[in-house]
């Protein structure tokens, strides 16, 4: 995948999370935990078990734009404009944050726009 293509993917929220926004524009993300197949043999997860993630102002902005419609490139530009950042700086921090969200299984990437492009372009 080229750099252009990786910036064209659209992050999408992969979990049903509850977002609790506070007055200071920070938020708590509450994600229900699911019992995985193998651990279920040994442990019984209590009903309503959940995991919490704290998001700051920038994190909340990125999370809100993980809607499957906004591409990574658009997200970077919006973030840079909103917080008066250089696009290069916004790019580095946004991609790092999206990687973290992806690793935690909170978002997935929609490759629709990439697949639409013909091969070799």
């Amino acid at each position: 995948m080229t750099v252009e293509q990786s910036l064209a993917v659209r992050p999408l929220r992969a979990v049903e999370a509850t977002v609790q926004v506070r007055d200071d524009e920070t938020a708590t993300l509450t994600v229900p935990l699911k019992q995985s197949r193998w651990t279920g043999w040994f442990f019984k997860m209590p009903d309503g078990a959940h995991k919490k993630f704290e998001l700051d102002k920038l994190g909340l902005f990125v999370w809100n734009h993980c809607d499957g419609k906004t591409s990574v490139k658009q997200l970077i530009r919006k973030l840079a404009r909103q917080f008066q950042l250089n696009e290069r700086m916004a790019e580095v921090s946004t991609i790092q944050f999206l990687r973290t969200l992806g690793r935690k299984g909170l978002i997935a990437m929609s490759l629709q726009s990439v697949r639409e492009q013909p091969e070799g372009k």
Partner: protein
Amino acid sequence: MRPIVAWQGWRLRLPPRWGPLKLEGDWREGYALFADTGRPKLGVRWTTLKAKAAEGAIEKRFGQELGVLAAQATRAYSPPGLWLHGRLYTDPSPPGRDVWLGYSPASGRMLELVYQVRRRDGAMAGALLPSLGDESENPLLPWSIFDFSCQVSNPMPLSEQRLNAGDITLGFGDRRRGVTMRQISVASVALRRMPLDQWLAAQMRLRKRNYRPAGLLREGSLAVALGRFSGLEGQLRRRRRFGFMRWIAPRLWAAAAHDPQRDRLYLVEATDEQLLRQTAATIGWAQKVGASDVLV
């Protein structure tokens, strides 16, 4: 408005979407690469040369960069200001590279600009080169990278650079006489994580090997190019066991302030108070100049 990039004596106006990808070298020679979110756009290389060797070196460099045939297709072009032997190669069939080479007698350096051109847009001759300048003879050397800018008394070489996303540090001079400036963005997020006094204390702790705090932090204000902002000040004193090290300044002054307009934190540390105030007063000069061509 195209922001100013000023580094090691030269300055340029670049499109707002371009940012530095690589900054290497020192005042004598080095390389900078600028890119947008997709691909590299502009390379800048500078090399110190003797004036009489400049013309031959430019010709040779064109040969290395483009090949002998393309090097013959260059034309004389010197941007405004004192540039000697300026030559420009415009790629006849993009995508390719537009290359400009010239010699600045002000700094005794040959400068090379390589613009990655995708379609014929005239950006090199129309926008990039007219904004090129060499400020090496300026008593205050301008520096501007990302959205951080300052001016430092000349000569005071760059000794430290840390360009993390949202946390930029530039240090100048040596341990006897030097200044370090740090800009943190977004300040409202940074201050929620840690109050201003802890930011300043953390900055001062970086010197704890050689220095100890002299007194408590006190309230003060810091004047930068964009205004005066309230903040905190503190001092450090060289530890007694390093008293024989005369090459280390006996005291360090440190100050921190929050700029609510730009939502930035400024942390400045210097070996004397006057240097701290003078240098801090130039922070943000490029943002103040904005679209005009006049340096502060």
